[in-house]
Symmetry: C2
DNA sequence: TTCGCTTGACGAACACTGTTCTACACAGCG
DNA sequence: CGCTGTGTAGAACAGTGTTCGTCAAGCGAA
């Protein structure tokens, strides 16, 4: 290497990218960039061009490593699922454990903006998806839930988690867009919903009108855990020794 | 009026649309066109240009009646919810009635392709949305569920219905795209999933491997009602006279 | 009737999107 | 050294939601 590399080469011999003419650009790097973009600006900002830009390249280059955008999003989703920490099954604590797994899953999904949308839009088949499913199924079956009911329960609970995480991300993006702090935003929002219910004609909507206050009670977390508890305690009657 | 209107005007004075120079083009007509397009070709086919084309006009014309695409989709969604038939609350049959409302809602959503996606993407505030909410809340409260738990349960059940209807529409569009008949499609799909579970290393995925058969048991309807039953029977312990 | 004004229609354009085509630079191999 | 295959990208295609500015039609008033 001599000093030649210090002065710019003549333009007609210059590579299209002046410095670092050949980037490594791997599948992993692309998924990394997509996730970083997702976390910063949300799923809508994740376009092939923006991801490529993040890597200082063009959109067409991504297609050498990834079949299409759907595959990229599924890869990103499965990478996110990899962050979920799972407990060792303990039959004595199966209720607490299924609850822990669900809460942990919700937390991890919520930590990555509206990534939950891709779990609803695609049938999850990635390696980390089956890892979580195995854990949930193991906890339920070793806890005494019959296999058939345990299998369906895993399916339903997973759907519930994804749906609620997605809904939660919607409120979060609305809150972010409003510019208000979280507390003020939810207070305003629930206040508006409450007022709306109170403007309904009580004759036609007696229950919504009457119970407007409890309808706006409880934030996203309380509601998530309430529904989760319904699903789990609904399994009671399938346990051995139940009517 | 003389015969002048029968002969075509000279081109330099001709209106841009040769015949029927002014269409009525109302909000309702636009929602109609959007729904018809949705039912025929799915939500992805519903673009402002396609809806306008359906009405023999340009996309820009729609914006005189509708703020943007989101508002149009919410209007279409609420119109769909209007098709849901609701029973008169009968406290003695509250379990059966909440089940009926949920099933009816699922049926109506499923009958309109992937309209359920817009219910997940937006906070539903339309008149028919509150109509269904009022009915569910009334059935639960008059059945003996305490107001707070009834309110949250309505929220959770509605989320569950939307999420499952959306997931169902995904499978339906996949099946339509595959060209196979329904029976063959689900048999193939469940067969593939089953085979996939059986290729997993049993040491690391003992439960999925062992119970691959029950995991692929039951179609969408069975699973929907199983989850619904979990949610409803999970309300038992809030009834007066429960431990 | 005729003049203005408001309302709605709508072609063109803007800034995007996912994806494909095609040319091309570079690495490893013979 | 030359050849070949792989990965890199610019350009282009067909589409998207939305806005701008123009223009026609209807209507109330003079």
């Amino acid at each position: 290497m001599c000093a030649m590399s210090e002065i710019p080469p003549p333009p007609w011999r210059a590579s299209r990218r002046s410095a670092a003419p050949r980037k490594p650009l791997s599948r992993d790097a692309i998924v990394d960039a997509a996730l970083s973009l997702l976390d910063r600006e949300g799923l809508d900002a994740v376009s092939m061009r923006r991801v490529a830009e993040e890597l200082n390249t063009g959109a067409a280059s991504l297609y050498a490593h990834v079949a299409n955008k759907d595959e990229l999003l599924e890869l990103a989703y499965d990478r996110v699922l990899g962050e979920i920490r799972l407990p060792e099954p303990d039959p004595a604590r199966w209720r607490a454990q299924i609850r822990e797994i669900a809460q942990e899953s919700y937390r991890v999904l919520a930590a990555h903006s509206d990534i939950a949308r891709v779990s609803l839009a695609n049938v999850p088949t990635g390696p980390n998806s089956v890892r979580v499913a195995e854990a949930m199924l193991g906890v339920l079956i070793s806890g005494g839930v019959p296999p058939q009911q345990a299998a369906w329960a895993v399916d339903r609970i997973a759907l519930y988690i994804s749906a609620d995480a997605y809904e939660g991300s919607l409120y979060q993006s609305r809150q972010r867009a409003s510019g208000k702090p979280v507390d003020e935003f939810v207070a305003d929002f629930f206040g508006q919903v409450h007022d709306y219910y109170r403007t309904l004609p009580p004759a036609r909507f007696p229950y919504l009108y009457e119970h407007a206050d409890v309808l706006v009670q409880g934030d996203g977390e309380v509601r998530f855990e309430f529904g989760l508890e319904l699903l789990i305690s609904g399994l009671d009657r399938f346990l051995p020794g139940a009517g």
